[in-house]
Symmetry: C2
Subunit: 230 residues, 2 copies
Amino acid sequence: MGKEISQAVIRRMPRYYRYLGELLDEGVERISSNELSVKMKVTASQIRQDLNNFGGFGQQGYGYNVQYLYSEIGKILGLEQQHNIIVAGAGNLGQALANYSNFEKLGFIIIGLFDINPNLKGTTVRGVPIMMLDELEEFATTHKIDIAALTMPKDTADPLANRLVKLGIHAIWNFAHLDLDLVEQDVVVENVHLSDSLMQLSYNMLQNQKEHHKEYQKEQQLEQQKEKKL
Amino acid sequence: MGKEISQAVIRRMPRYYRYLGELLDEGVERISSNELSVKMKVTASQIRQDLNNFGGFGQQGYGYNVQYLYSEIGKILGLEQQHNIIVAGAGNLGQALANYSNFEKLGFIIIGLFDINPNLKGTTVRGVPIMMLDELEEFATTHKIDIAALTMPKDTADPLANRLVKLGIHAIWNFAHLDLDLVEQDVVVENVHLSDSLMQLSYNMLQNQKEHHKEYQKEQQLEQQKEKKL
DNA sequence: TAGATTGTTAATCGATTAACAATC
DNA sequence: TAGATTGTTAATCGATTAACAATC
């Protein structure tokens, strides 16, 4: 019952949320799946199908109320509750995350950074304290931690992830370039593999170039044929 | 002819590449699709299908030569050529990218950071110079730029992206939280939307909790039934 | 040669799109 | 009421898995 909603659908929800947020800012009150589909460059059918996985948020003959739909998608994505995040690894990436104020607007609050570099001990990033990793257990007893972001080198990620899970953290935002090998089940992991993303870009660049080259060759052939005819 | 290979397949290629690299480091000489499928937690069928989009890299009765397959996938992903990257936005994220040495191992070299903050002018990150955005055009005439990473605030992303495209850069690695609106076609864009990723994590956390709650309730019911019987 | 394992075709499954009756 | 647009069912398309003949 309540068959699982596919991750393909889930991945699209934040994008809907973003567009609806923009419409809200622009003061738009209502929008039809068709209008939205044009803006977002997807089919209206997909929008309606996606939304109806979660319930009927629209009204025949009217469309969707932007404010209402926006807040409903927020609820679906769990944004009405605050999420406390710790970042394991206070290197550049970790500090970049702590500095990124947009997460806060969505209710994701970074409450602490952890590292092993003693030089960082006691310093802060945008008011967020950097602590030593061996203070983690103590910190966990006095703070509610919902999500741990892993931004440390990949060779230390596995044991640390398992240590975090033991502390009761069941959501990991993994920036380390490996697939975590977790002892315990039912931990939610979201991977951000930047080099994978870069390689995908690289592949698509290459394809793009190849297509160009083909087109160029075709043009050349046509020109040669023209010349022959003259 | 040569029907397009789906992005679903492309997205998996870097992961194959990563696992093969690890096997190579471990000195493993050959591997069957079945062995690899166990390691990677995918089906052997998928591995063979994916690879055969690009050609027959294996040998019946033997499997795949790790070294060979690794290098072939590297070629497919365009890793045998160097890619020069500039980063537009030398904030924390931009600097984090410049500091991340792993990209270099894959042939992605960050050759310059650009920002509008005059305090950053003349400074460097890991030897990479930070320049002012108005020096961009000049820099482009003297350097080959393959990829531009956008890490600046989203309201400046669109015009800058179009400015980059005009300079002949046709690959954009977009970290700004919007869908770029590009005037010119045939630009390859790879989006990294960190807040989207975080929202997906949030959704999955919520689902996970709900399932737990259900299981817990079931257990409670069972216990109550037991008690009644006694 | 016999055994193993690929490459590839066929079957299944899931996701997207189209169509339209329901209804505001 | 007539027009618009949803929610939903049906049709199509694509991706994944299974099966097996080809072949090393």
